[in-house]
């Protein structure tokens, strides 16, 4: 196990469960914050994983994940807005 994999395990083992916990309870805005946090943690974990297994081709996954996470969170923010 190399240093990169240790970092990935910290992100996936601590950061992602915390983000999932925040995203699964509370009011909708708090859940949205959890979703945003989960997107950042998952993206950084995928970056570290590509380095840990020495596979640069895997880097396309976090690159696309950032864009999709951004669009998805904005869509949720729009749909959760109160209707006038």
């Amino acid at each position: 196990m190399n240093a990169w994999l240790v970092g990935v395990l910290a992100l996936v083992g601590i950061g992602l469960p915390v983000a999932t916990w925040i995203a699964s309870r509370g009011d909708p805005v708090e859940r949205l914050v959890g979703l945003e946090l989960a997107g950042v943690v998952a993206t950084l974990a995928l970056l570290g994983f590509a380095q840990a297994v020495a596979q640069p081709s895997y880097l396309i996954v976090p690159t696309i994940a950032v864009v999709l996470s951004f669009a998805g969170t904005l869509v949720f923010a729009r749909l959760l807005a109160p209707r006038s």
Binding site: A3, G15, E36, L44, L47, S84
Partner: protein, 102 residues
């Protein structure tokens, strides 16, 4: 083990530490706005440090460019998402008009 490798692993480790600590700290916050404040260091400090560590390890290459683009996207989109979530929280609390600022 070169000094560059040590610096790269140190940057990566500090970046991961920042993200994990901000995630744990956001558990203590009670309001969504407070949680968003804790989220900011993860996108503004943690992601660039993780990216810097990976770029230092890979040197000048297309791999480093893709890592830099990905971390740059996190840094750019983070404040946008934070402001969108804060605006949503303010709308639901009634502190700003629902149609503002369209």
């Amino acid at each position: 083990m070169s000094a560059l490798h040590v610096a790269a692993v140190a940057c990566f480790g500090v970046g991961v530490g920042v993200v994990v600590l901000t995630a744990l700290a956001s558990l203590r916050a009670r309001r969504a706005a407070d949680r968003l404040h804790y989220l900011t260091p993860a996108t503004a400090l943690g992601a660039p440090l993780v990216g810097l560590g990976l770029v230092l390890e890979n040197g000048w290459s297309l791999t480093s460019a893709q890592i830099a683009v990905t971390c740059g996207l996190i840094m750019i989109t983070g404040p946008v998402l934070t402001s969108a979530a804060l605006r949503l929280a303010a709308q639901r609390e009634g502190t700003v008009p629902q149609e503002s600022p369209e």
